[in-house]
Amino acid sequence: MSISLTPDFEKKLDEAITHYPVSKRSAALPLLHLWQEQFGYISDEAIEFIAKKLEVQSIHILELVTFYPMFRREPIGKHHIKVCRTLSCALGGAHEAHACMKKLTGAQGDDHGPCTSPDGKYTVEYVECLASCGTAPVMMINEEFYENVNSEEKAKELLKKYQ
């Protein structure tokens, strides 16, 4: 395996493992999160590396990546726009917000999956309930959370921060 990690990153991984004194395997999700934050997606190399690190079979890591919706096996756009689609947000205009974001970013593809703009800058995707139903419609852009995104002006304003 020809993967080289910075000492800082390795330190972060090792620190996360210390949170689980009973079983290293418990650190699988934290390590996957750290990896995805660093590299954008979970590659085959990532799976092998983490499996080795936690002394489990690769399948024990792969089965997590294929189960948990937040992990992805392929890179996506530079900015990830996640629009909540569940009932309260739908009542508050989630579908309009999703369509608006697709239009403004030029993201293409079927609404049921991630839609990425041709320049690779944005990926717009529906997600399930983000637990802020009182301020619908809500969305996340990368790790930031935004509420009441109910007009094109507001959406445009948000996107200015993500160039």
Partner: protein, 436 residues
């Protein structure tokens, strides 16, 4: 006249100048309850929680005192773990989010007291993956608490050690189910475990006795220590004690989060007085009272409840008091306190299509009735809602739902079928009209 809120857990939420820093929390009397608790006998705290009649705030409303009573630190040779369930993902629910993001130390203090009461030395705070900021806030709060010796070794010189770690989920609703959550912390797919034998109190995390409590429940423990179990039990109604954090969303003028004494407010007061009534002055059509898994209620329905002298009376939706037992008596549940309001302009088949997509997406796939059934329900509702309804579809849909509930390892089977069953029961005409 609107019923006044009684803010205990939400006391400082959105207060100008109130921050998540420990200094701010200490200035407002923070960690005083821990200082008091750590001088008490753990069993004494457990007894107070039992006296308080506190019921779990995650959805099932199970007695916290009874849950803690399953574990006897003196009898077990295994370590005992405590997990805070901060995987708030039930559609319609957004109460824990407020505490996590705006008053994290209240939760940490409640957790430390609960751990001390149950002789726990290692605890995890399981937060949903979509709260990255919340996770950072909590990690900072834990570090601050540790620096002040509220956590770590020999807490406040009392000879008690405790470590709390934040564990982030990764977008799976099923992790809110306590045994699925435990599997998730073990680094596995969150397939719920079958009970018996895998009751968390017996065979929980790493096959050791484990307590799993919701964020709101653990915060309440702090206030029970503060005021005493009996005083706490005087808030609200017998068997429905304390306050409830309620989130209102959907077609109301002022959606938001509120805190009321249990049973002190009716559904009508909540919708019309507190939340300003229905958006655009439309008419109310339906309410989902306790998160998307609770059964939907018709606005014009009549509901049988026990009167003051235990006689049965029939009341309208607006007169239903917001407490655990009344919602159970009228055939639904107060669940996670997430009230979703729908007005007369809403197509009920459209609404349930949305929820059926959610459940089809979130079924973990372990049990066949749920894995296949949730997909079938979604597909049938989808075709009904998009011009391809067949005459037999309403009955077929109900039949599928009836064959999931009660036939799965965990309560997700009920969670996905109750909405479908109740939408059909309450609005059958709208389903049948799709086939015309």
């Amino acid at each position: 006249m609107a019923v006044a809120e009684r803010r205990i857990l939400f006391k400082h939420i959105d207060e100008p100048g109130y921050t998540v820093d420990i200094d701010c929390y200490l200035k407002h009397g923070g960690y005083e309850d821990l200082k008091k608790a750590i001088k008490l006998e753990p069993q004494f705290i457990k007894d107070e929680v039992k006296k308080s009649q506190l019921r779990g705030r995650g959805g099932a409303g199970f007695s916290c005192g009874v849950k803690w009573g399953f574990i006897d630190a003196k009898k077990t040779t295994k370590p005992i773990y405590l997990i805070c369930n901060a995987d708030e993902s039930e559609p319609g629910t957004f109460k824990d989010r407020q505490i996590i993001h705006k008053d994290p130390h209240q939760l940490i203090e409640g957790m430390i007291i609960s751990c001390f009461a149950n002789s726990v030395h290692l605890a995890y705070l399981y937060i949903r993956g979509e709260f990255p900021e919340g996770a950072r806030i909590l990690e900072k709060a834990i570090a601050e608490a540790k620096a002040k010796n509220f956590l770590g070794k020999n807490i406040l010189g009392a000879g008690y050690d405790l470590e709390i770690y934040v564990h982030r989920g990764a977008g799976a609703y099923i992790c809110g189910e306590e045994t699925g959550l435990i599997e998730s912390i073990e680094g596995k797919r969150p397939y719920p475990r079958i009970k018996p034998p895998y009751f968390p109190a017996v065979l929980g995390l790493y096959m050791c006795p484990t307590i799993v409590n919701n964020v709101e429940t653990l915060c309440n423990v702090k206030h029970i220590v503060n005021m005493g179990g009996e005083a706490y039990a005087r808030i609200g109604k017998p068997n429905n004690t304390g306050t409830r954090l309620i989130g209102v969303s959907g077609d109301v003028k002022k959606p938001g989060y509120y805190e009321f004494e249990c049973g002190a407010i009716t559904l009508g007061e909540l919708i019309y007085d507190v939340c300003g009534g229905i958006r655009n002055d439309n008419k109310l059509k339906a309410v989902i009272p306790g998160g998307s898994s609770s059964k939907v209620m018709r606005a014009d329905g009549r509901y049988k409840v026990k009167g003051a002298n235990s006689e049965m009376t029939e009341i309208g939706l607006n007169d239903i008091p917001m407490d655990f037992d009344t919602f159970a008596a009228v055939g639904t549940m107060s669940g996670s306190g997430g009230v979703i309001v729908m007005d007369e302009t809403r197509d009920m088949v459209d609404c349930i299509e949305n929820l059926s997509e959610f459940y089809a997406h979130e079924s973990c796939g372990q049990c066949t009735p749920c894995r296949e059934g949730a997909q079938w329900m979604k597909k049938i509702i989808h075709r009904m809602n998009h011009g391809h309804a067949r005459k037999e579809d309403t009955d077929l849909l109900k039949n599928v739902a009836d064959n999931i509930a009660g036939r799965t390892i965990c309560a997700f089977g009920e969670a996905c079928s109750w909405p479908v069953q109740s939408f059909i029961a309450a609005f059958r005409n709208e389903f049948e009209a799709k086939a015309k």
